[in-house]
Structure formats: C-alpha cells, structure tokens
C-alpha cells in the first residue's frame, strides 16, 4: 500500500487546524506539499514541523548569521557541526558551544535548566571531547517579581545537580536581574571539552549499508514538540505546556559519556550525533544529509519505556541522554559490549542507503518516506523585514547628578543585585572536580588547566543587555569586546567565541532590526579582534503577550594561556603596590549602573566601543602579564572604575588609598563612567617606570590611581569605607534575597 493511501488511513486527515498546531503557516504547508510531491502522513507532518521549526532550521536568522566571521588559523571546525573546535597546539583542541533552554526553564526551571546542561554536554562529547568545564549565562526578572526567587532556586539547583553528577566543574557564568525578563527568563548553558585534534568525531553519515545504532536511555513521550515550543511565544495557556518539558537523568548521561569515550578509542564509529531538539528526527536527518546518503529506520527496534508508542511519537520524542551512531559494518559487537558494560540500551535501528530519502517503518507500515533535501535544505528562508530604532542620544552630564558621597554610592552599587557577589550561586556548583580548576568563579574569567600540561583554558560569558536595548549594534560589539577583555585580563590569547542569540519575535520588524544590528556589531568586533564565531545558537520568540526581552546576544569566549604560572588574577596582593588605570577617561554615564542606582532607570546611548583601542590596550596588558610586571589585573566594565577597584580590593583582602582624579570630568563621571577598553592593574613600585614606558610605546593612556594598603577604600575628602563593611554589602544581597525574597 503506498504511503499516500496510508496517509489517508491514519486516524486524522490533515486539517488546517492540525497544520497550525504544528507551528506551520498555510504558506509553509504548501511548500511542504510541493517538496514532498503529495500530502503528508501525520508522522511526515510531524517530521517536517520540527525540521522546519525556527529552532532547528534557523529560518529567520540564517541570512543574517552568514555575516559572522567564522574562520582563522586557530579554527579547526566552525559552525555546522555539533560544536566548534579550536586548535590549542601540541595536537590538542578545545571543543565548545553555548545553547539556550529558555522556554522550558520558565515552565519548569529545575528540569529545563538541567536538561539544557545535559544537552550542551552531549553536543561536546559527541565530537569525542571529554567535557572539562561548564558555564552558564542566566537572566531573571526583577527581584520583586513574584516568580523570580522560585525561578532562581530552580534553575541553580537544576544546573548544579546535573553538572555535579556528571563530574564536570561549573566554573563561572553571568547572572542578571531585569524586569524585562519577568515572563521570559534566559538560561544559556556553555560547555568546553578537550580532544586530540586527530580524533575529532563528526556527524556526516558516510557509506551505504552501514548500521544506524541507537544508544542511551529508552524513548518515552517527553518533550514531544519541544522544538516547536521553543519557536513560539508564551501566553496564558503556557502552564499547560508542562508535559512537553523533558526530564533529565544525569547518572545515565555520565554512563553515556564514559561509554562513548571508551568506544571512540576503537575504530568503530563512522559518525555520531546526540539526539537533542527534535530527537531521532533531527539526528537521523542531519547525519544522513551531511553524509549525502539516505537512511531507513525500523522503529520496532527503538527501545521504548512507554507502551504503545506510535511512529509519530518515536520520531518526535525528546527523551534525553540518547545518541545516534553510524558504525563500520562488523563493529556492532565491539560496540554493543561497551554499552552493555555501562548498562545502556544499544539497538541497531536502521541502515544508511543510497536513496537520499528518510524512510521510517513501524509494524510493517511505511510511516514516512521523505527526500532528505526537503527536510534539511528546503525549509523556507525568511528575509524578514526589519526596522532600525532611533539611536538614543549621548547623555549630558547635567542629566546625572553627583552623589552625596562617592563611597556611599559605591557601597550601594556593590550591594545591589547587579554587582553583588554571586557566591550563593556558584558554591552550589562543584567548580573543582577534575582537579584542574586554576581560577575559580568570581574572577574575570575562569581558568582550567589543560590536563597533563602547563597550559590553561580561559573561559568567559558576557553581554550587557541594557546596552543592547539602547543600541543593538554597539551593545553587541561591546559583548564581544568585553569577552575578549576578560580573557585578556587573566593573561590568555582569546581564540574564538560561541554565541547564544536571545531575541523576541522576529516577525516584528523592530525585533528583527535588533537581531540584524546585533549581528552586524558582533561581526565587526569579531573581525577587528580576530575572534571568530565557531558555534552558536539562536533563541527567538522570547516574548510574552507582546512584551519582548531586551536583545541579549550572549557571547561565550575561550582563550589559551600558554603557561598557567603567568596567569593573572584580580586580587590585590601586596600593600605598597601601585594602582594604575590603562585606557581613556571620557565619563560615559549613559546606560550606566550608577545612573540606574541613582535615578531608578537609565537611558541614553551606551558607551561607544573603539575596537582599535581594545586591541592595543589588551595586547599591552597581556604583554605586561607575561613579563610578570603586574601583580593584579581587572578589566573595567559594569559599574565603572571605582567598582573595579573595589572588586580587586575585596578579592585580595587589601584596601586602597586613592588619589583624587584630576581632570575636566566631574568626580562621579570619572569614577562611575563605563568607558570601554580599560583595565586596572597593580604592580610593584619598581615596575611602574617600565609600565609607563610600555604604555607610551603602545599609545595607551595611563594614569596613577593610588596605592594598595590598609583595610579600607580611602578616597580624599570622604570617611574611609572599611573593607569589612563593603564585604558585608557585597556578600549580603543575594543570600538575603533567596532566604526572604
């Protein structure tokens, strides 16, 4: 019986309502029918709907993402595989990627965040890399929003429980609170792994007649249509979507990790991919398409944990902790033995063919027969209309009043949700397992030693959403620049980035304009800083009832420290050391946290980013670090100069005595302006001369700020601010909030 007739036989014939429920527009459905050559069966409709969803096809973003630079001598693998790969030298490479799990985390924060961590780790170890570090970028609503505390608690324990059980250290991240995320939190999870550059595994299923093997957990009904949920906004009915949230099992994933790495030492695997969004469908389609082969699946062979699962359900299930492999014929028994040892399901569920089609059979019936090109390449590509918002004007200093006390303002800022210590969060993450964490959470970047060597991997996640909301182009430039600075500040050569583009509804021209602007800003910064994009993820439709999140292009960067003995930290180390500022002083208070704290809101253009200055200042800093001329380094970002100094003082437990800042700027603009391309360094007094000379040669402005000493922040004309008082404010906000809300 041919499939068209079978399609008629299925319980429901395809109605416009059913098409809409699958997230396809009537126009897209017409294109589907044309690509298939007939009306689809329900299973085929399901398969198309997930492959053509925004989450899997990038239909709104692809035309823009093409503008991002993805190449460089250090790039071994750019976007297009499960993760990106950069060369570390000596036959080693770093594999990394960041991914979003925003919509599921809002609905069920613990499992949404946990499965986000699980998914991104699979993307890394599917390439043969052992994960060595996790990071996450979290955006929550305003602290006084009723759901915020519950979401923070759930997300943090979800991330912690999954990552800790996997035995991979979670070494850092970013957390912001902003009312615009009230109904749309963001959970972006990043993973970095290490691999021998000659042993990287890819997804292309080459070869005809090769066994297609399913390994890992059994398939259930979890997360069916998770991909289409991630491609749609929330409304009041969203709470009913709870059954679509997947449940993670980190114990099984740990077994899966060890089993895969063990099998990867043999010569058995041709191709491998994890089953993530759209499960068996996306992995089988993508692997076959990349390899230029067809693929036939016998769903009776799929291990299931529920009774009576249909073909539709098996193809769309997003049950976690599963991988799909193409093996060399003859290696099935070696492979099966490994998975049996680790007590994981192993089943040959199909074969590669030469038809270029996806054929799915269940109980003797062909439930789907689709040309792969239609699924992987014929998804509509949209050049969505976009508009650019009016740029916000540069604010004038008259608009932002001076505080009664500079140190009072400092204490207020350091004790605010924006700048307070995140210790409450990262002490719930095992950040030391694997015994290679050389720089723990709380610094500019985390650093993990490349196991068995003296090299270090520096990792940082950055973006400043309020800058992006004011000017997506300049804000995205700043995200890349800040990430580059953070890696530089610990002494690393920045290598490449992964990105997580979190935006609202792309069908609204103003949102598409934000996306377009952000991509262009990122592209310019990545090019100028030789900091290409090697992997990434797009999350759209982060809106509820028409209110969108601020544009949030998260940047996750990786850098290499050739010798960890030259790693820098921000902690002030010695009384008597001199403090210096490298970089310009223009007093940019637009969109600053100071303005936010003093006036309860911020406006104006964000601080401009001068990429040449970033490069020359950063290169100078890195040189000073490597020649051991500096004892502490910190980049200047959120909160400005005085905040940066305070963070260094608290980290080291040493106070500072600061000179008044001479110059045309009012004191508050100089101390709290968020000018970019700047670093604070501490050095022994006998190094000051050499540093002056080096700065002059590099044409980087340098100013002496004062000295390390005492146990307070001392600013001329004000009573000193004891470190103990500052520390209480800094460490107190988050635990207080989580205890009492």
């Amino acid at each position: 019986m041919n499939i068209a007739a079978q399609a008629d036989r299925t319980a429901q014939s395809i109605t416009p309502e059913i098409v809409a429920e699958h997230g396809l527009s009537p126009e897209e459905y017409k294109q589907l029918v044309a690509a298939l050559g007939r009306e689809p069966s329900l299973t085929e409709l399901g398969i198309f709907s997930v492959m053509w969803s925004e989450h899997c096809s990038y239909k709104s973003s692809k035309v823009w993402l093409k503008k991002l630079p993805t190449e460089g001598p250090q790039v071994i693998q750019g976007p297009g595989e499960n993760a990106g790969v950069v060369d570390l030298g000596d036959g080693q490479a770093a594999v990394f990627k960041m991914e979003s799990h925003n919509h599921p985390s809002y609905i069920e924060p613990y499992q949404g965040a946990a499965t986000g961590v699980g998914g991104i780790m699979r993307d890394v170890f599917t390439m043969g890399a052992r994960p060595v570090a996790n990071m996450n970028a979290l955006r929550f609503g305003a602290p006084d929003h009723p759901k915020t505390k519950h979401l923070v608690a759930g997300v943090v324990s979800g991330i912690g429980d999954y990552g800790n059980c996997m035995g991979v250290p979670t070494v850092g991240g970013e957390t912001n609170f902003d009312a615009r995320y009230n109904d749309n939190i963001l959970v972006n999870a990043m993973c970095v792994g290490l691999v021998d550059s000659g042993r990287i595994f890819k997804a292309a299923a080459k070869g005809i007649g090769h066994p297609v093997v399913y390994v890992g957990s059994k398939t259930g009904r979890d997360g069916i249509h998770g991909a289409t949920m991630a491609s749609a906004e929330f409304d009041e009915a969203s709470a009913e979507k709870r059954p679509t949230v997947q449940v993670g099992d980190p114990f099984t994933e740990k077994l899966l990790l060890e089993a895969c790495l063990e099998l990867m030492e043999e010569d058995a695997i041709v191709a491998i991919q994890d089953m993530g969004a759209a499960g068996l469908t996306s992995s089988s389609v993508e692997m076959a398409d990349k390899g230029g082969v067809g693929i036939e699946l016998e769903l009776d062979r799929v291990p299931t944990r529920e009774d009576g699962m249909t073909a539709y359900e098996m193809m769309l299930s997003e049950s976690q902790e599963r991988m799909l492999m193409i093996l060399k014929p003859g290696s099935e028994s070696i492979a099966e033995r490994v998975f049996q040892k680790w007590e994981l399901d192993f089943s040959v569920i199909g074969y590669t063919t030469d038809t270029g089609r996806l054929v799915v059979r269940h109980r003797g019936i062909t439930e789907a027969d689709i040309p792969l090109a239609a699924l992987a390449h014929a998804a509509p590509l949209y050049e969505r209309p976009w508009t650019k918002a009016e740029p916000q004007p540069l604010i004038t200093l008259e608009e932002v009043p001076a505080p009664n006390s500079l140190l009072g303002a400092l204490e207020c800022l350091m004790g605010s949700p924006h700048l307070c210590s995140r210790r409450w969060i990262w002490e719930q993450y095992d950040h030391m397992v694997m015994a290679d964490t050389v720089q723990r959470p709380g610094g500019d970047a985390a650093v993990v030693r490349v196991h068995g060597s003296d090299k270090g991997l520096a990792i940082s996640c950055d973006v400043t959403p309020r800058y992006c909301a004011a000017d997506p182009y300049e804000g995205a430039k700043q995200a890349v620049a800040e990430c580059w600075r953070n890696l530089t500040a610990v002494g690393a050569d920045p290598l490449a980035i992964t990105d997580c583009m979190n935006f609202g509804n792309p069908e609204r021209p103003e949102i598409m304009g934000e996306f377009a602007g952000a991509v262009e800003g990122m592209a310019e910064a990545c090019t100028a800083l030789s900091f290409p994009v090697v992997s990434g993820n797009v999350s759209l439709y982060n809106e509820t009832n028409g209110v969108s999140i601020p544009p949030t292009p998260s940047v996750g960067g990786v850098g290499l420290i050739p010798d960890i003995s030259t790693m820098a930290t921000m902690a002030l180390k010695r009384p008597g050391d001199v403090l210096m500022l490298l970089g310009t002083e223009e007093g940019h208070l637009g969109q600053s946290l100071y303005m936010q704290a003093m006036l309860d809101r911020s406006w104006g253009a964000p601080p401009p980013v001068d990429l040449e200055a970033e490069r020359s200042t950063g290169d100078l800093v890195r040189e000073l670090i490597r020649s051991a001329d500096v004892s502490a380094v910190h980049d200047v970002s959120d909160g400005g100069l005085l905040v940066a100094i305070a963070e260094m003082a608290l980290a080291g437990g040493h106070g500072v005595v600061l000179d008044a800042l001479s110059g045309p700027l009012p004191a508050h603009a100089a101390w709290f302006g968020e000018d970019q391309a700047r670093y604070v360094i501490a050095a022994a007094p006998d190094k000051a001369d050499a540093i002056h000379k080096a700065a002059a040669a590099a044409k980087v402005p340098l100013r002496l700020l004062g000295r390390v000493g005492g146990d307070a922040i001392v600013l001329d004309g004000e009573p000193p601010l004891p470190l103990s008082v500052l520390r209480t404010a800094h460490e107190g906000w988050l635990p207080g909030f989580m205890a009492h809300g």
């Binding site: 324990s157 912690g160 429980d161 800790n164 059980c165 996997m166 035995g167 099992d249 980190p250 114990f251 099984t252 740990k254 077994l255 040892k341 680790w342 007590e343 990262w426 002490e427 719930q428 993450y429 095992d430 950040h431 030391m432 397992v433 694997m434 015994a435 290679d436 964490t437 050389v438 030693r449 960890i564 003995s565």
Partner: protein
C-alpha cells in the same frame, strides 16, 4: 606503594585520586571496575568521590552492594588500608565498614568550598605527615555531607580515638560557625577500630597541587607512601 582505585558507575573523582597518588608514589594506581570481584594485590584501596548510581535512593547505597565490595570488605578486615573520600565515605558507611550515616546538609544545598579541618591524631597511616591538632585546608563538594550517628556510637568513636578530622575555623576552633553542614560533633572523617580504614567527606586530592592554591591534601598521600612503602 601499589594502590587500587575502585570505579563505580557514576564515580567522578577516580582520575583525581589516581593523579594525586601517582604524583606522590610515582606509580599509577590500578583502576578497578565495580563489576570485578577481584582486586590486584594492593597496599591501599581507595573509594573515590562522585555520584555512584547518581546518588539515587541514598548516596552510596547501591554501590555498597557492587560485586567488588565483597573483596574490599575482605581486604579491609585483613588489614589493607582503605581510604573512602566523599562518596567513598558514604559507601563505606552503607557497607558497614564504618559506623554512622551521611545525611542531607543542614542548608539543604550542595556546598563547594574550602574548609579548615583539625587533624585529631597524627599516628595513623593517613596522618603521619601532619602534626596533632594541625589546622589544614581541604575542599568539600557535596549535598549529603552531614555525619550522623547515635549518641552511643559517637561517644564510642570519641572514646576510642576514632575521630580523624573535625571542621574548625582558621584558628582551629571547633564551633557551629565552622561546621558547614551540621555534622555531629563537627566530624569530617572517622576511622574504623584498627584505624586502617578512613572515611572523610573533604577531598584531599583536590588541594594536593601548588597550581590549585593548596597542598595540605598532599600530606595525606605522602603519609600513606611513607607508611606503606
């Protein structure tokens, strides 16, 4: 010193323990799979940290019944030193080689940070390189680290000098403030009757390398090397 590190499904700190042991002894320990009923001749057996069986049901409960544990118990009874770290300590209590049980931290959360410990005695295979009463810095990372035993058991442990380490502050004071998880009597680690089996919740292998900001843990491995060589 020939050591064997047991690997359970879900163990995470087996490599960390092996690296620390090899650094001090020059000999890579054997990694023994939980499903094996044989353990090679060993001067020391280590049950490493991690999440054996995902900590499902109770931490260490299922691992305690692994085939290899029969041999671990038998070797322990014959006098082979056994070191249980974190999940390893949990497995030792579930297997009956040490008294008491590990419960959920008082804060109900996972805690990863440095702690100070007071070394209660320095005359065991594990502590010869410490001084009695020395204050050391180790690292904890667990959710179920609160040591509990009935009063009679605790009194017996104290009376028999079987408390190995206690949580203290940087000055060595034993106090509630210095207790990260509510462990009874601030107990961080205990010995069996012969003081040849040690279980402790903090991880010595994580602060055994100058690059990792602390080396107090290395003294435990150095003590073992000296005693067992």
């Amino acid at each position: 010193m020939k050591a064997s590190v047991i690997v359970f499904p879900g163990s995470n700190c087996d490599r960390d323990a092996a690296v620390a042991l090899e650094a001090v002894s020059g000999i890579a320990p054997a990694l023994v799979w939980h499903g094996d009923s044989e353990i090679p001749p060993s001067d020391l057996i280590v049950l490493p940290g991690g999440f054996s069986y995902g900590d499902y049901l109770r931490s260490g409960a299922m691992a305690a019944h692994s085939p290899v544990m029969r041999e671990v118990v038998s070797r322990a009874r014959a006098g082979t030193p056994v070191l249980g770290i974190c999940n390893g300590f949990q497995i030792l209590t579930e297997a009956g080689l040490l008294p008491g049980v590990m419960m959920r931290n008082a804060t109900l959360k996972f805690i990863c940070r440095d702690v100070h410990l007071r070394v209660e005695r320095n005359d065991t295979a594990f502590t010869r390189h410490f001084t009695e009463g020395e204050v050391v810095r180790f690292a904890i990372a667990n959710k179920d680290g609160s040591y509990y035993a009935k009063k009679a058991t605790l009194d017996r442990l104290e009376g028999e000098g079987r408390v190995a380490f206690r949580y203290c502050d940087a000055a060595g004071k034993i106090s509630d403030a210095a207790n990260p998880n509510g462990s009874r009597r601030n107990i961080a680690g205990i010995y069996n009757e012969s003081r040849t089996v040690l279980g402790l919740m903090p991880h010595p292998e994580r602060l055994a390398d100058p690059a990792l900001s602390g080396t107090d843990g290395a003294k435990m491995f150095a003590s073992l090397l000296e005693t067992l060589h």
